[in-house]
Point group: C2
Chain length 413, copies 2
């Protein structure tokens, strides 16, 4: 008998029929003898409906009242799912964030969990009950309703799993696992049986948006084994866990991630002096623009070129900032390019294997893809390329690192 | 400066436009210098939508979970109204039943209020805030969400008014007051400026369903002046308060109430022995059938006829019970009639005035309406008549007791 936390997202509980299907799945797990805490999101569309009502009344709804408003979405789901469980003969009860209690700080709409009281949870589980908990919501020390920010139900689930020391935290979603790359780009993309937290973080931040990033960090920090599964399709999903010895035997590369949503800015001919990076990026950061890849070329005659990438949405804002700073910086000019994309090879195994970077660059060169920028971390190598080469680059690398379905198991470094 | 509790029903907050109109009304009252607690119902249709979702999942939803589900409706309204107040520059905040706290017993879906903590309310009011409270909901001693039963927001408002000793509890609804009778039946029906609690109870129970009966009882018990007003139309509405001296000068009769939803059952030739009423009505009550008028004729040769009325919905169930008991009762036969209606003359003044009954019977006889049954209380005289005479009887009595608009003030006894 295991203690399992399951989380069902908005699509999984999007209609009474789907809620019924979730109840059937829980019934099976319950019959297998497991103890279950189930975390639910609002029915898909509900949160947007509620926010729409608020926006129709005011352009700047109070964060406190917005939390009171949107937290009703999860309450509706949890009550409905609990009823569906009752109708299948399962003893179940629902608990709001405040009833658990999931205590957070008081930052409405993006509260952080401070502590979870596991006494009520354990008492109900010990009585043989399935406990259904509203995701996304908590309560601060003054009894005010708070929310964790959109997508926060994943974080609720992981935090609950950590609090009760669950064997596994299962995130049911509309995909059946984490893939070696986007199956829409590469036909041979394969579902991974397992992946490490670090790899998952790199994959998730690159647009393989299966899980909310924060929940993966949280799971890694508290060493909660996470499993991503489909609500609609049977299967083992993908297990995300610590980088243990047995994982070391896994292929070097976990997958190929990519991101189209990048734009590049280059400041040309800036004085190559200490602090120049801060002088350029300081104002950008203050404008809440997130910077991804940063590259400073080796200086030549006291001048250097400084390049960084931002999200395409922020390009125009960043351009305005550079334009206003260019004289002050003593730079010659600035340029921007939104027709770029980032492709990354991700794998915890590359720590201990040489040659991954070389293989990557050779494979891209062989098909004529020019690399504009390179950025590396311990478990990831990213390149910025022209956007039109994105699909070609992803397919080439997926194949070069032995990730294609037909070649499964043949991966080498 | 007065402390006022206002309650807005589902129709009054049925859309963002209407919520805006309610906010405008509150703004005006706030600018007049009054302290305000505002109780809101769920947006019209919302409670039914939620119950519909539950029914799609199970025919017997758990009362606990149903309370969790439907209590979200008022939370949505209170958050939206508070946002609308903010956008008008009013300092306001919303409080759930649990946040007030409104403590109830643990009878889900029809909980009774046990106590209201006025400390938070007073603290917020003292800071100049308008406090918006979710109607219909409370919390039991274990922190479980409870609801007061449908229409319970009126009760919430009255209980809050009693707890903070408000000068007035204003119930905003879709009618602009209590009328002498149904304006759809009598053109000359007039809005009453004031009415006593007792008269209101008799009027309400007869189908003038302006206020939930329980809230009127509650208001009477705690001597909270109640005012019924329209959300959509300016006007003073109708003030419901204690029978004070100045009210004694009011016309004898407050209004003419009626009810079409009645059916009559007669047991003929039952032995005229003690306990026969219980033998007949006991099984009826056990089947949760409410009995209204009860009449036992004077016995003749040890036999008597026993007649009672029930709601038409319950007629068939009552007939089955009588059929199964007829032999046991030693009765000759039973008969039923669903083509009846009840008309009542209501007025606290009739306590001290003779002749009301005589006037009523004469007026009906003059227009040829035959009276089948008569039932009287201290402030009401009801007659059961053939349904087809209902409108004629109501108009006749409305006129006979001087209630018609053109004859206003000419009422005599």
């Amino acid at each position: 008998m295991a203690l399992i936390v399951q989380k069902y997202g908005g699509t999984s509980v999007g209609s009474v029929e789907r809620i019924g299907a979730v109840a059937d799945r829980i019934l099976k797990c319950h019959q297998d003898g497991h103890q279950l805490i189930v975390v639910v999101s609002a029915m898909s569309g509900e949160t947007n409906r509620l926010i729409g009502l608020a926006r129709a009344l005011t352009s700047q709804p109070s964060p406190r009242e917005l939390d009171v408003l949107v937290s009703t979405g999860e309450q509706v789901s949890m009550a409905l799912l609990t009823m569906a469980l009752h109708s299948r003969g399962i003893d179940a009860l629902s608990l709001k964030g405040s009833q658990v209690a999931i205590t957070t700080d008081s930052v409405h709409s993006k509260a952080r969990i401070q502590s979870i009281d596991d006494r009520r949870l354990r008492a109900e589980l010990d009585q043989g009950k399935v406990v259904v908990v509203a995701g996304f919501q908590g309560v601060d020390q003054n009894g005010e309703t708070t929310t964790l920010g959109r997508g926060g139900s994943d974080t609720s689930a992981v935090a609950l799993a950590a609090a009760v020391n669950a064997q596994e935290c299962q995130i049911y979603t509309d995909v059946d696992g984490v893939y070696t790359t986007d199956p829409r780009v590469v036909d041979g993309a394969q579902r991974l049986d397992r992946i490490t937290f670090e790899e998952m973080l790199e994959m998730a931040s690159m647009g393989s948006k299966v899980l909310q990033l924060r929940s993966v960090e949280f799971a890694g920090k508290y060493q909660v084994p996470l499993r991503v599964l489909s609500s609609f399709k049977e299967g083992p999903g993908t297990l995300i866990k610590m980088d243990e010895d047995d994982v070391m035997e896994a292929p070097t590369i976990a997958g190929i991630a990519f991101n189209r949503d990048e734009a590049k800015l280059t400041v040309i001919g800036v004085p190559d002096t200490p602090g120049i990076a801060y002088q350029i990026l300081g104002p950008v950061g203050e404008a809440n623009i997130e910077v991804d890849v940063i590259l400073q070329n080796v200086g030549d005659e006291g001048k250097t070129d400084f390049t960084f990438t931002v999200s395409r949405n922020d390009l125009e804002k960043a351009e305005v900032i550079l334009e206003s700073r260019i004289a002050e910086l003593g730079a010659l000019e600035w340029r921007s390019d939104s027709k770029i994309a980032k492709v990354s090879v991700v794998g915890v195994g590359m720590r201990s294997h040489a040659g991954v970077a070389a293989n990557m660059f050779k494979a891209l060169a062989d098909v004529g893809v020019n690399i504009q920028m390179i950025s590396t971390s311990e478990i990831k190598i990213s390149v910025i390329i022209e956007e039109k080469f994105l699909e070609l680059a992803v397919r080439t690398l997926h194949s070069a690192f032995g990730l294609d379905a037909v070649e499964a198991g043949d991966a080498g470094d």
